[in-house]
Amino acid sequence: MKKLNVLGLITFFVLVLVNLPFLVIIPSSFTAAGYLAFPPEGFSFQWYTMILDRPEFIESLWTSLKLATVTAVLATLLGTLAAFALSKYKFRGSGFINALMLSPLTVPSLIIGISALLFFTRIGIAGTFTGLLLAHILISIPYVVRLVLTGLSTFDYTLEKAGYMLGAHPFRVFWDITLPLLRPAIVSGMIFSFLTSFDNVTVSLFLVAPDTTTLPLAIFTYMQETLDPLVASISAVVILLSLVFIVLLEKVYGLERLFGLNSQSH
């Protein structure tokens, strides 16, 4: 136990640091003062009711929720199908396709954003919801493919075979055997896609128009002009929303496993 003390102390310090932003934002959002302060002065909900008077934030919240939901569904569908092909069949070029599926992760968001803007301008979908959606699906696919491939790598195909032998229709086999076994991987792919899309700034930055602005981007823009407790109350809403999905992710899949950490010790 003694040797853990220094490490434990540093670990505690780091944990406080990485969580400090939230530890100051939440209390600051309840301030009664007209300016940003920590520790906050007084207590009131005024900065929360103030959000309601700012249609641009409400609208961008809806855009973000809509975008993240559709992204999650489509990216999961596309990624899962591709992962099935990659895992089930051995074929020429599968290595290439696999690498390609994961490649958006290795290229800086900045470049993805700029190139998408250039291309979307040419084909006339820059600034539209469709353009934004396509880019968000692109950056979510790698996570889904990786998660589902991991799920499939330990998948026991003899269970499917057993289903066939007992006379089940291929769709029934898929629905009753394959899907339930892969559900944790697929669901966590979906939640992760949702979070990726919901929190994205760098790619969206190049692709939004005033009427398709997402919430993080609306906060980003507002923050560059003004710093008041309104940012805190809106941020608190986003933190709460994200937390719901993080807890879901932890329950469904486990964060440790999600990030590739060994979970044998549990």
């Binding site: 490490l7 540093i10 670990t11 310090f13 780091v14 944990l15 640091l17 990485v18 400090l20 932003p21 939230f22 100051v24 934002i25 600051s28 940003l36 302060a37 920590f38 199908l81 591709a82 069949y89 074929f91 396709i97 390609l100 599926m101 958006p104 290229v107 800086p108 968001s109 900045l110 470049i111 700029i114 190139s115 803007l117 250039l118 291309f119 040419r122 692109l138 493919v145 929190d199 760098t202 930055l205 190049f206 906060i219 980003f220 923050m223 560059q224 710093l227 805190a232 941020s235 933190i239 994200s242 937390l243 999905f245 964060l255 440790e256 590739g260 950490l261 060994n262 010790s265 549990h266």
Partner: protein
């Protein structure tokens, strides 16, 4: 169903998105970076970089800030990974959760939290002034220090993950063997643990470096107008000046220099390691 048809049907939807939204646009961007305003081929967007010390200074600043971030995440992240490797069950789960969860919440919001902490009227300055330790507020924000703090917070999880993964993989009996053979704890750490988790450290440092080099949001929010880095300049060329060819070239120059530096770094470490192995 025939195998070829199945493969095509299953991969086609994702491939269309990848080719259409990623590969094709990137090629277009590369092409554009070699064009002048009349769409003729030119190297001027890249040459400008060699001629104009303004851009060289910005690239150097980007590299400098990224290196400081790598150092900070390594120094703070290594002990955390060590702690996680030594902790058991529940404790390890709690630490993992507390280090990873913030990473899944918008970087804009985390940066905002730091602005509240570090600002001129922020928590730190107010506290230090009240305690009478300083008379003037410290400048912790809108300079390179602010950017490094923001980036360290953003990317420390990657460093911890990379190192922890390689620490978990080390067979505990190795350290036991070392201590049975009479090695001190320090010696065991430096001759057994550290070399074995070097791959994790290399992975972590290269990852954090690459991420810091291309980070846009944190430098924009915590660096202010005076600490411009390459991504911010590229963004301005695209969105404000509307000089798309130059913006594209700057982005590719950034990517190229990042790849070059990372390759050089891994090459240096690898050769040094082999030398050590063969020397002993």
């Amino acid at each position: 169903m025939n195998k070829r048809l199945s493969i095509t049907l299953l991969t086609a939807p994702a491939m269309i998105v990848l080719l259409g939204v990623f590969i094709l646009p990137m090629l277009l961007m590369l092409l554009l970076s070699f064009q002048d305003e009349n769409q003729a081929f030119t190297l001027q967007n890249y040459a400008l970089f060699v001629q104009d010390s303004f851009y060289v200074e910005i690239l150097w600043r980007t590299i400098r800030v990224s290196l400081w971030t790598v150092l900070a995440t390594l120094l703070l992240g290594f002990p955390v990974a060590m702690y996680m490797a030594q902790a058991t069950g529940k404790m390890r789960g709690i630490v993992t959760m507390l280090i990873l969860a913030p990473h899944l919440i918008s970087v804009v919001i985390r940066n905002f939290g730091w602005v509240v902490v570090l600002g001129e009227k922020g928590w730190i300055n107010e506290t230090l002034m009240k305690l009478g330790l300083i008379e003037q507020p410290l400048r912790l924000l809108y300079n390179e220090l602010g950017v490094v703090i923001g980036l360290t917070d953003s990317f420390i999880a990657y460093m911890v993950l990379a190192i922890a993964t390689s620490l978990y993989a080390i067979d505990p009996s190795l350290s036991k063997a070392a201590s049975i053979l009479g090695a001190s704890r320090m010696r065991t750490f430096f001759t057994v643990t550290l070399p074995l988790c070097l791959p994790g450290m290399i992975a972590g440092t290269t990852l954090v470096f690459s991420l810091s080099m291309s980070a846009f949001v944190t430098p924009a929010l915590m660096g202010g107008t005076s600490v411009k880095v390459m991504p911010v300049i590229a963004y301005e060329q695209i969105m404000a000046t509307l000089n798309w060819p130059l913006g594209a070239a700057l982005a590719f120059l950034l990517l190229g220099s990042t790849i070059l530096l990372v390759t050089l770094y891994t090459w240096l470490i690898e050769t040094k390691r082999y030398k050590e192995v063969f020397a002993s």
